[in-house]
Amino acid sequence: MMLDLLSYGAFFLATALSYAIICLGLNIQWGQTGLFNVGVAGFVAVGAYASALLTTPAMVGRFGGFELPITVGWVGAMLAAGLCAGIVGAVTLRLRADYLAITTFGVAVAIQLVALNAQGLTGGPFGIGFIPRPFAALAETPLAFELVHLALVGGVTTVAFFALERLVRSPWGRVLRAIREDETAAASLGKHANFYRLQAFMLGGSLMGLAGAVQAHFIGFIAPDNYVPALTFQVWAMLIVGGSGNNRGAVLGAVVVWGLWSLSGFAIGVLFPPGQQARAAALQIVAIGVMLAVILLLRPRGILGEHRTISRHVVAATE
């Protein structure tokens, strides 16, 4: 019993941390740069499918199946999703912020359509199976498998987290925030705003792709239904709850919201008869939607909020 609980805890945390990677990607786009991406699910899907095509065994009637190592799949996922973000960004970043929102929404719809219909590439509605799971040899002992898996996802999250922390505090990160706060001022200092925006958008997109690949190899199976707007919405809720602009907030928000999501799913399992559970699951999304609205109204900074960035010269002068 104790071991089951521990095993579930590891499984839960690994899932939450895979969301945290998506959330970190959204934080570099929205939190740091102010780019509004409503197509998160699309970029996650591109990463998941790219890695699946690179690493699965060949299958008759479907492109891909190169049986490459998992690491190659993950790098491929980052490249594919980053490239996808680059194309979207090149077209829309010069336009108004809300046009980016509408376009990314459209991108996610289009990617979902390709996943559903391009059978020769994506397996269509049935998706892609037999995605190799890292440390599959341990699958005999669930606890060891979950723990090793948690260590792997946790490791990827940690590397992403510290790399981003480093970037955010670098001159590059300061330019992003300067553009977000006052584009004209940043431009007058010779910063090419749209070029920086494009870099941030691509970096965020490639992280989302990496997270998609990590999730795909965790479960071993992907299908178009995994990448619906509800996923985008969960990730947004995670970032807003944790505190956008703050990488710790992004990770914390992912764990908190995924915890609430799992709890509410558990509650529905207990409260509703089996026949009504699928229907009642819709209430979970209603609850998260209401929570997002309430946070935006009452505590727009989220739990942690963004650190204020003040020049040390200003601090020295006022002390």
């Binding site: 509004f36 829309t92 459209g106 229907r279 935006l296």
Partner: protein, 300 residues
């Protein structure tokens, strides 16, 4: 290839146009991309369905003339238009108005995206995800010549759209509140200074947008089917139509809606129905690349 796609495209375009008018008005007057607009369409259809069931207990429910629906649906539709408008007002009061006071426009977009998923999931919970129909009656399509056939309901949809668009045009160009709405869309601060009641303009905009969304939802329910996702699936065509026509322009939204509808039905005929939703997206990308102000718009 037959010319049938013209008739189907016009009918779909008419519904898209009605939705896009509401979207373009809220976009230009309240200054944010409202992702809940599609869900107002679904709510309008479900409200009409529910009210028609109640009214059907009192009024005789036989169908009118050649149409598939009877007086209960007409009466329910009118009440539901008001209710959908009130739903939009309630959303504004609870969420958008509070965020407008402090915070940037883009926060409103996040809030509307969240509210949109909540509204649609609530419908899914209340009515289940399976599609429903206003009427199970089969309609015989009338041949119009050149191999084109339309059902009486489709003709009704086209006629009603024409009437509603005409009424909207007169309202916006001839009435006091219409002129006030255009003034606020040009410059809210200046409109406030010359004594225009901006709050009343905002209320009217939501009421009109909600009512037109409901009308589009009822038409979609009559000619296709009613599903919790019917409106959100229409969101991309709506945005494409509003941006193609130029944000803030009602004639633009109508022309944009018709173009999107025709392009979709032509695309379905050429490449099949699987990629239907991508057609509106491609149109949207083309407009954003070539002429982001749209056909009749001024603001980039």
């Amino acid at each position: 290839m037959t010319l049938q796609f013209l008739a189907d495209g016009l009918v779909m375009g008419a519904m898209t146009a009605l939705g896009a008018i509401g979207l373009t008005l809220t976009y230009s007057i309240l200054r944010f991309a409202n992702f809940t607009h599609g869900d107002l369409i679904s709510w309008g259809a479900y409200l009409t369905l529910t009210l028609a069931a109640i009214i059907g207990m009192v009024l005789p429910s036989g169908s009118i003339g050649p149409f598939s629906f009877g007086w209960p649906i007409v009466a329910a539709g009118l009440v539901a238009m008001l209710l959908t408008g009130l739903l939009a007002l309630a959303l504004d009061y609870l969420l958008f108005a509070r965020l407008r006071r402090h915070g940037t426009a883009i926060i409103l977009v996040i809030a509307s995206f969240g509210a949109s998923l909540a509204l649609r999931s609530l419908l899914e919970f209340l009515y289940t995800p399976s599609p429903i129909y206003f009427s199970r009656e089969l309609q015989i399509a009338i041949p119009l010549g050149a191999g084109v056939r339309v059902t009486p309901d489709q003709l009704f949809t086209l006629g009603l759209t024409a009437v509603l668009v005409g009424v909207m045009h007169l309202l916006l160009t001839r009435s006091h509140i219409g002129r006030a709405m255009r003034a606020v869309s040009e410059n809210p601060a200046l409109a406030g200074i010359v004594g225009i009641d901006v709050a009343a303009v905002v209320r009217t905009t939501w009421l009109m947008g909600g009512a037109l969304a409901c009308a589009a939802g009822v038409m979609l329910g009559l000619t296709v089917q009613i599903r919790p996702y019917m409106g959100s699936d229409l969101l991309l065509p709506l945005f494409a139509a509003a941006i193609l026509g130029g944000i803030g322009s009602v004639p633009g939204a109508v022309v944009g809606g018709l173009i999107v509808g025709l392009a979709e039905s032509l695309g379905v005929q050429l490449i099949g129905a699987n990629y239907r939703a991508a057609i509106a997206f491609l149109l949207l990308l083309l407009v954003l690349l070539l002429k982001p102000t749209g056909l009749f718009g001024v603001r980039p």
